[in-house]
Symmetry: C3
Subunit: 359 residues, 3 copies
Amino acid sequence: MTYLRNIWYVAAWADQVPAGEKLVRRILNEGLLLFRDAEGRAVALRDRCPHRYAPLHLGKLNDGVIECGYHGLQFNAQGACIFNPHGDGVIPPLAKVESYPVEERHDALWIWMGDKDRADPALIPDFSSVINDGNTVVRHYLNPQANYELMIDNLLDLGHTAFLHPDSLGSEAIIQSTRRTRIEGDTIVDELWAPDGDAPPMAQFLFEKFSGVKIDHWLQSTWIAPSLIRGVAGYAPAGRDRADSETLPGLHWLTPETDTTCHYFAALGRNFRREDAQLDAIIDAGVMKAFGQEDMPMVAAIQGELAGVEAERLHPLVLSTDKAGIMARGMLRKLIKKERAEPAEEPSGDAPDLAMVGG
Amino acid sequence: MTYLRNIWYVAAWADQVPAGEKLVRRILNEGLLLFRDAEGRAVALRDRCPHRYAPLHLGKLNDGVIECGYHGLQFNAQGACIFNPHGDGVIPPLAKVESYPVEERHDALWIWMGDKDRADPALIPDFSSVINDGNTVVRHYLNPQANYELMIDNLLDLGHTAFLHPDSLGSEAIIQSTRRTRIEGDTIVDELWAPDGDAPPMAQFLFEKFSGVKIDHWLQSTWIAPSLIRGVAGYAPAGRDRADSETLPGLHWLTPETDTTCHYFAALGRNFRREDAQLDAIIDAGVMKAFGQEDMPMVAAIQGELAGVEAERLHPLVLSTDKAGIMARGMLRKLIKKERAEPAEEPSGDAPDLAMVGG
Amino acid sequence: MTYLRNIWYVAAWADQVPAGEKLVRRILNEGLLLFRDAEGRAVALRDRCPHRYAPLHLGKLNDGVIECGYHGLQFNAQGACIFNPHGDGVIPPLAKVESYPVEERHDALWIWMGDKDRADPALIPDFSSVINDGNTVVRHYLNPQANYELMIDNLLDLGHTAFLHPDSLGSEAIIQSTRRTRIEGDTIVDELWAPDGDAPPMAQFLFEKFSGVKIDHWLQSTWIAPSLIRGVAGYAPAGRDRADSETLPGLHWLTPETDTTCHYFAALGRNFRREDAQLDAIIDAGVMKAFGQEDMPMVAAIQGELAGVEAERLHPLVLSTDKAGIMARGMLRKLIKKERAEPAEEPSGDAPDLAMVGG
């Protein structure tokens, strides 16, 4: 499977890689080892010693230096071999491990799996609307047993919430809502407007005042290629008096792990009841039920049903709720095609797409 | 693997699909969902929503209508979409699920996986000799981890009973028996005659009078292409005085699940001690030991040994006990070849066998 | 994967096949059944009845005769069918099971998987330096989840001991040692000389006098194609006064099981504290920790990383400690090439290597 490579993917929440610890993680089908150097900067190396292919995570991490557990070669945080205990101790020229640019931002570690020269941290999209000093943020990590595109489908399609998450995120009003979807650069903005209905159960729980009364509910989701989503949910008393409106910013980040699995990072921010740890726990439990116990089995079952075939090729039935997802997939296909057609730093084994080059 | 399709297969015992419940079952490599419509008639749909390929069994069944668990599309028992909760609610033309003809007969649900136009219930073979109002019937369902042809081999070859089932079905007399095997239309009739020997342990248990005395034992098995067997076992005092003879009618039905597994339905009828629930339990335990604990591991081990190659291609050693099985396989090959050569309703990707067409 | 076939492999420790018992073992990807004939001689048959491919290990062993559990065909220790209970009882010509020459020597059963005519027991290498009447021998069997070549790499490379086995076999002195590696016929002799250092922890434990003092330590390993290693470890007071030197002979035998797993037989001999069962237990525990808990996970992880590709093809970084292993692999490649180029008794499907024939 071909992935967009010259792009920042989220490798981990920053606190999943504490100083002195190793995190093994597969990204775009490659086995990586994440850890922190002596200064605390997060780094990523290929999880494989160039000598006998021992996984480096079986070795020791000391002051930001990885010692291979098999023969004691030591590699620094950039993947350079800095110590060879054998023979004359000369460092062989081949003794280096592939390293990947990593940036820490928005509580996360962002990794660049493409041309290193182009790894500009300024390209990391802005998620400060969710993760900022004024918000309390509840964060999640899940490992869907499904390709990341199935998760994008899932997240951009709000029509499923009423059926799969009736106890938390869904409502009759969402099914009856109006939707507007537009392209903005490399992003797709999807807006949902569900006036004069019951609030979803989770919103009724978070905002007592919306319980049992009709509200106006809106959602805006922005998909940023290839697999980041920034959203905000709004709630106001029905009739558009927004003096008492409430908003909940959230984000969803997906990173391909293998062709049939992905990493899923989600977060919900709030600027009220900020020190309420019990509320944190309730949100956490609710999200883990909705995403972990409702979405995960569904997307895994679909992945199994597809058996490796891309969903589009099966000519599925399309419903109105699919619009944003279909637009996202289309844009993603174009971006991948474009990237493969570009002159690459390292020539790849794939023939360039001549039609694209000519066009 | 190519299967005969224009034929009735047994999908389930009728009571495996109670009203209001769903049975997920794979048949001829296809994932199906069996349930009952509002009138209680059993139906079978492809277990896959045409929208996002969610398995329909993850949804809800209400009054014979399946609601997809992901987006709430509702399908009736014929697979037609009858409700679309999204957008303008129009039912898209593609919104239908493949359905399969199902007939309920002989306590079982029969399914037709071929051309629907040819699904004539009159083609279901008659098993009323086993399942009828005058008999008490003990029924079994097993899931052999072996191709259905290995199970046909097993069931048509009675020579194995003395070795694999010495405590129940086998006897020295069966090994020494004479056999006659003949073709009758699309069936193969195999007759075994084992005079003047000990009754098999199970028969001695069922009929006390045959315990410790010499008996004449006969068996007749009729294989009906592709995978149904109707049999009767007879026992009489040695010397052919059949005044005190006893008979036990039985059946064995096989349905391909995948290329290396199948569904196995078996039943034994009796017209004596009909209300004896303890006897039911003893028969059940005996059969489950013989079939479940003795045959199942053996055929699964052979399936593993074959590793996907058809047994004939390995040029196995043939013994006299194999005759009926070999004739059955030969007839099955011819029937499959013939079916593929026929002008099909939907053109298949397989080239017709010209030699067959010409012949 | 192509293996050397006209060679003796170790199939089992002799006591893994007690009289009257069956041992199922896969060797060079073939399923075998080992047992003893009526005279107690170990034999090996293909674990598959030629009739219906039932694994013979599911049958009965009586006085050196295997009765197939499915239909009662009986095979003697040479694989000849000696009883057919079915029909007229004639033994069909095809009723035979492949048998393999087996020799019992050095507490082990050696098997010949090539041309039977060439199975000369004199070709079994001599391991009497380890297994002899003057030694107490502690033996092990392990089942590495790695190709046997990865285990040869592991065993011929002593540089890893300091890192993977620091509590038992490794020492700083071994890393700093000098190594000499030479070819002798179809063997490779690797000598290690580590003067004036601390003894490895296991040696300090076995020989109290070497605890806390500097010693001279030497190791000699002889690799005998394709997968046998005979070794001896020596320890003496530093300064080459060998009056108080001690030696420990050992052996390592590898047999391919599948392309990604192997059988590993190891033994350590000693001529001191011979009746000390507690010492046996301590050696056993130490070896099982070093080999079982340290080497096994490492080679299995590397096997997973290689994903079926031969390590050489990945152009790994080479260190000085790899010399003997690389020479062994090179010699093994040549021997396999040579064997395939030889006129074989049974023509194989592989084209002979013409370059080799011409050379």
